[in-house]
Symmetry: C2
Subunit: 240 residues, 2 copies
DNA sequence: ATAGAAGTGGAGGACTCTCCTCCACTTGCC
DNA sequence: GGCAAGTGGAGGAGAGTCCTCCACTTCTAT
């Protein structure tokens, strides 16, 4: 019972370097392609073999998990920042916009936040963490009369999902079109509005639309059949 | 060169019956589970063997194609109806709502309209068909002053994608929540609005949210690598 | 300098999942 | 009653994922 798991021995110098390489590669690959990227992809990006990656991280989930600690930090920071804005409505707009920007910039984070395929626990934790902040933001903005009274903190995730959709749609043609739709949405949740807010982006023209539709990733909503859960290594519990 | 492909000989009585059974089963299965359902599923639902299904339809795409002729009819009909409404804004609201309802009721149709995985040509055709109708609807609604002036017909698909997201999210917990978000969106595209429209549905409560997030299908945006295109049967065109 | 612990690469195993084929057998029709 | 047409469903082909395994290389402590 001495040093139960403490000081698990430092990695060899080269190994530590590689660990950092893996993290960096994973950040990049996941941000760019989302969690559908494989550890093989990460390894290639890092200039290492898959085996090395698996030696350091027992499985994909562990790597994702290690990585998104920092992503979550960004989300929380955005929420905190918005609460400091004396104009609560502006803060609200800012918050949603920043969250959308984070998603737009990092597909991996989007996958984590919107899909729960990985890091279920961690996401729950994040939600617990920002829920009160969202509630406060909403309450303030309503009290100041900027946000429609029937809006709820629980609506924010839905908003983000909607925006995620437009982000993805425009990605290859006009990476910023989503701001157009975010603006419409925000106009929709403002308390009163004599004139529509100026849309920051033009609509997709025929060519863009055509290309977007064509290059549009085939969206799959994999229905939860037969609890795929984790798939897990083939180690059966009966192996004992 | 006589009767080139005309009157391709009627099916045997039982075969014709089975063909209808297949169509009915496909309608049901695809509407319920989307295009990710396999022809095996369709066959099972029809109480037939897969072989039978493949004897009648050369591949999945052919079946999907045969089926969605009618789905497209519904879409066009909705568009026509909305154009008849003397109140152009009401017509617009109606149009978007009906399109959303169609998607909500038929996941297969949604997949076709939003993903182009199947029936690329047919979808293009549909788009050509409704595009002018949308343009007219938009133009009318703007002229009458109901719709914000910077809205474009090309924005409608984006709106529908956003709604599709919320439809899917609420599906198992509160199949109608999407109307809440559609209402916000519509408020966002109206020209002026002193008071927000009453939201037709309450937000998801904590339990709903938790369950929705948990049962939430793992959303996959399969990035178009290596042109999956069609995969197609292995019949090469060189077979001629 | 060197033993041997630690680390590495990447082919390939195990698994899953989908679309579709094949062919022995059954059924309807002239 | 004969035979073309139709049927069922096991299983082949192919794609793709996660991860293991182990011969080999590299570091580091003595």
């Amino acid at each position: 019972m001495d040093t139960p798991a403490a000081v698990p021995r430092p990695l060899r110098r080269d190994a530590e370097l590689n660990r950092l390489r893996i993290m960096a590669a994973a950040r990049e690959v996941f941000a760019e392609r989302g969690l559908e990227a494989t550890l093989d992809d990460v390894a290639r990006q890092a200039g290492l073999g898959v085996g090395t990656v698996y030696r350091r991280f027992p499985n994909k989930e562990a790597l994702v998990d290690a990585l998104f600690e920092e992503g979550f930090g960004r989300v929380v920071a955005a929420a905190e920042r918005s609460l400091e804005n004396p104009d609560a409505w502006a803060g609200m707009v800012n918050l949603v916009t920043e969250l959308a920007e984070i998603q737009a910039a990092d597909r991996g984070l989007r996958d984590i936040m919107l899909s729960e395929a990985y890091g279920r626990d961690r996401v729950a934790q994040l939600r617990d963490r920002i829920k009160p902040m969202l509630e406060q933001a909403v309450e303030r903005a309503q009290r100041q009369g900027g946000l429609r009274a029937d809006f709820r903190a629980a609506d924010v995730p839905a908003l983000l999902m909607m925006i995620a959709m437009t982000v993805e749609f425009g990605r290859d043609v006009r990476p910023e079109v989503w701001r157009r739709y975010l603006t419409m949405l925000l106009d929709g949740i403002s308390a009163r509005r004599d004139h529509p807010t100026r849309l920051p982006e033009p609509e997709l023209d025929d060519d863009d639309m055509h290309e977007a539709m064509h290059a549009w990733p085939r969206l799959r909503w994999t229905t939860p059949t037969s609890t795929p859960e984790k798939r897990g290594p083939k180690v059966l519990s009966s192996e004992v």
